[in-house]
Amino acid sequence: MSKTILACDDQDLMRKLVSGVLRQMGYEVVTAESGEECLETLKTLKPDLVILDVDMPGIDGFETCKQIKATLPHVTCPIIFLTGRRDKGDVKQALAAGGNDFLIMPFQPKMLEQRVEKWIGQKVA
């Protein structure tokens, strides 16, 4: 049975890129357009991985992650942030929010593939 990834990004194009890469790898992908939608989706979904854009209107990725940790105890999977921010302070903030990893944008699809495999690599027939 394929593993499931929730990909949250306010940009339609990035959702398509991420979901396109991950579906070709054989994963099931559910998408969300905002931190709020991500939290709502996670009330009933228990994914194997969450990929979370940091810079979103409304609640950003860091705040979304904090709320996941605080209010959705059944969600125990790794969380990977997508961020265009690059400095050490943001990395610390990502880890403090409860994230497990981050991918700096722009990223090559191969890098996304490697990062996802690192956390939940699955064999595809």
């Binding site: 194009l13 398509k16 890129l17 790898m25 944008m105 722009p106 191969k110 593939e113």
Partner: protein, 257 residues
Amino acid sequence: MVSATQNFHDPVIAQLRQEFLSDAAERIQVIYDTLETTNGSGECALLAIRREAHKLKGMGGSFDFPVVSLIARRLEDYMANLQALEAQHIPDIKVYASHLDKIIESGQDLDDEAAAVLLRHLPAHPASEPESLECHDVEVLLVSPSLAVSQITAYALRTLGCRVTTARSAAEAIEIAARTRPDLVVTSAVMDGVSGIDLVRALAAMSATEDLHSAVLTSFSKKHHQLQYLPPEVPVIRLGRKLNENLAEVISGFGLV
């Protein structure tokens, strides 16, 4: 495990690439419109342009337009530390927008050689031209994971008349250096993962970057164990009150001015 990227060149990606071009064209239009309608005023205008530059930077390289990301990154660097958009900035930002526009309209990213030339001719950060200092055609790639160190050092370099591109990690720096061929790479000695020491050694070892000048930024003394593998020809720039002086010595020592 089947790699998605082994068969990634397919109609889906081609379609996404076209969507990127449309999306990028809209973002560039937002930049133009913001410049026209604000007529050189305000914090809001600056925030709006920053947002579009940030998004373009974050997407370009993912859709096979790495030079779009580089130009957008330089636009972000140009606007760094600005509090509000002023009339004097508008022509410069239009130049950035125009270059982005040309690439997006052509549907084809620039090659490395053309990119390096273009980047040298982008308008410099406003702090690069204080009244009494000369403006030099010196491109510096500044590598530091620390925002504070990066800002302080970038400011010092700009007051010396240099154009500065910033990177936060060795991996980022290698990609930018190979593509833009800066006159000088200044890197923090200590970085997570690949250190600054390893970075300068890597740059010297790669044919694409072996002729680039490098210097290491540190507060360590020369005898510190963290610097033991630093090649002897690589100068050390001390962080601290003599930073400007040290940078100036290194730049002139390499014959860049």
